[in-house]
């Protein structure tokens, strides 16, 4: 204390120099600081990214000349009309159905994991569960798909297990069914479905867990105390409270399934999904307008979905 310099004035001189002057300027005018901070990210995301999206949207209103194969840059809704062709509608319906089924299955598998992690796992186990979800979430997408190629292959582990259990007839019976069946699991829609569920499952677990963490334990006890059976407690208390989390998770599972083109290409049938159609139209076919129109479909579906989710209060669980 004793050697501290004693300053006479109540107002001290500034630090001076460039830094001091700039700091004073930012302090006097916080908007200037905000402008400086926001300009680089806004230039990048707002101009490069949104600009690209917008350019793509515009191209969906162009059409392709059927003879020359060149893009005609005139406003038309013709390309959107093409989406309504039976073969294209088929793709849309198939993709949306798949996304819906994947979402439901993910929610069912995710719930016990999330509930256990949120309510029963303590200390070390909490960390185990957290990492147990984070590691698969962040590990390589392609490697995960590849792992399933190994699992579902005709000579792979699944066939081997069923063979050892003398249950091979189950797989064969299932594969002989129309639509879901095929030559082997790795070239069936069942396989596609399994891989989708596997790859997007962690995206469902985390928000559901976050929502369940917020349910006070005594709420469930109160329900049991008031005479509700476990089933009633589940449907009347737990599920409604977890629902925002499930909806938040479903945003991911739904959106990711809608846009994916790699999984059905590697594990699946020749029936196409929206992502594959987009890829094919922009690539080999060179029909950018139709590809662009196809990408608008998931965007519109997700827009409606997000709007509904927002009304259900799902964003608080993100």
């Amino acid at each position: 204390m004793s050697t501290a310099t004693i300053r006479a004035g109540a107002i001290l001189p500034g630090r001076g120099g460039m830094g001091g002057a700039l700091s004073d300027a930012f302090w006097r005018n916080p908007k200037l600081l905000l402008f400086v901070m926001l300009t680089p990210p806004l230039l990048w995301l707002g101009i490069i990214y949104l600009g690209s999206l917008f350019a793509l949207l515009i191209q969906s209103f162009f059409s392709i000349d059927e003879f020359s194969g060149l893009v005609v840059r005139e406003f038309t809704l013709k390309t959107y009309g093409e989406l309504l062709r039976p073969s294209n509608l088929d793709i849309i319906v198939r993709t949306v159905t798949m996304a819906g089924l994947v979402t439901i299955a993910s929610a069912i598998i995710a719930f016990p994991i999330a509930y256990y992690a949120a309510r029963y796992a303590k200390g070390r186990w909490k960390a185990v569960f957290y990492l147990g979800v984070m590691l698969p979430l962040w590990s390589s997408y392609l490697v995960k798909v590849y792992a399933w190629k190994l699992i579902l292959a005709k000579e792979g582990i699944l066939t081997w297990i069923f063979d050892k259990l003398h249950l091979t007839f189950l797989i064969e019976g299932w594969l002989s069914l129309p639509v879901v069946g095929g030559n082997s699991l790795s070239v069936s829609l069942t396989g596609t479905f399994l891989v989708f569920v596997y790859v997007w499952l962690p995206f469902m677990i985390l928000p559901v867990q976050a929502a369940l963490e917020r349910v006070p334990g005594n709420l469930l006890e109160a329900s049991a105390d008031l005479g509700a059976s476990p089933r009633q407690t589940f449907t009347n208390v737990l599920l409604p409270l977890a629902l925002p989390g499930i909806i938040a998770g479903s945003i991911f599972t739904f959106s990711l399934t809608l846009g994916d083109y790699i999984i059905p290409q590697i594990i699946g049938t020749s029936h196409r999904f929206i992502g594959m159609a987009v890829y094919a139209h922009q690539g080999t076919a060179g029909n950018i307008p139709l590809a662009a129109a196809f990408t608008v479909v998931p965007v519109v579906i997700m827009g409606i979905y997000l709007w509904l989710a927002k009304r259900a209060g799902a964003f608080n669980a993100l």
Binding site: M1, T3, A4, R7, A10, I11, L12, R28
Partner: protein
Amino acid sequence: MPYAVSFQQVSRHFGTVRAVDAVDLEVEAGEFFAMLGPSGSGKTTCLRLIAGFEQPTAGHIEIFGETAEGVPPYRRNVNTVFQDYALFPHLNVADNVAYGQMIRGVAKAERLRDAEAALEMVKLPGYGARKPGQLSGGQRQRVALARALVNKPKVLLLDEPLGALDLKLREQMQEELKALQRALGITFVFVTHDQGEALSMADRIAVFNEGRIMQTGTPEEIYRRPKTRFVADFVGSSNVLSPDLTRQLGGPAEWSSLRPEDIRLGAGGGHEAQVTGTSFLGSATRVTLELAGEKLTVLLPAGSDVPAPGATVRFSWEPSALHLMGTEA
């Protein structure tokens, strides 16, 4: 000698909310000044105006005669003890205390020596190596105090400094803060919503309500001679009597205040009222009376006879105890 802090018609508006509304304020150099009021009364905003975290919408602020508006907080020779202490979690106690001097470029050995001296002053010698997370609430408070005082500010601001402490610790800190202020001679300005704290610690008090100062004065003045109903009620929960009741009780038709502890029960003469409730407070008993549809609180010292609820009692007071506040209060 200029005032330590002076506000001239200072306002701070947030949108349509007038947090501080045309306030005039003078804090003498070297005094222990309290800004007292309920939450949202503008007292904390005034403190932030002195610190420089807020800028006035209108008016003029001086600190020791120097214009303060437009000067950033880091150029004001004023330091703050924050309500939540705001200790830097990544620095140990010594580095927290030495932060101000580190910024000013004081050499490391010197600033750490000063920090240790400041920690001794707040009775935490040898705590320098700990992290704030390892300290109790009371200890954090002391570190926050040391961190502010080590810079020898012209004015020390304290925002609800004792709010988070338990009763016993709070009483002890009140004593220590007073002693520290007297020893250092630094002007202390502190904000509180606790009238007991303000009365016991401050040399002078400004009572805030709805962005304005209702009254400024010594604790004695504020307590004995409140100027408005609000002050009478907020400081010491006085009985505020309407002009009607005042007249009924023999005074002029003015608002008046009557301290609960100034009322005596049972003696001859005086007025009659009905007992509606009693509650035992330990050192005293609170008796609620009803008279002409208005409530009156009486504080009886321990050991007095306590009337039963429903009983009719006579009550009286020394003539000087009835404090008149005019017709407009």
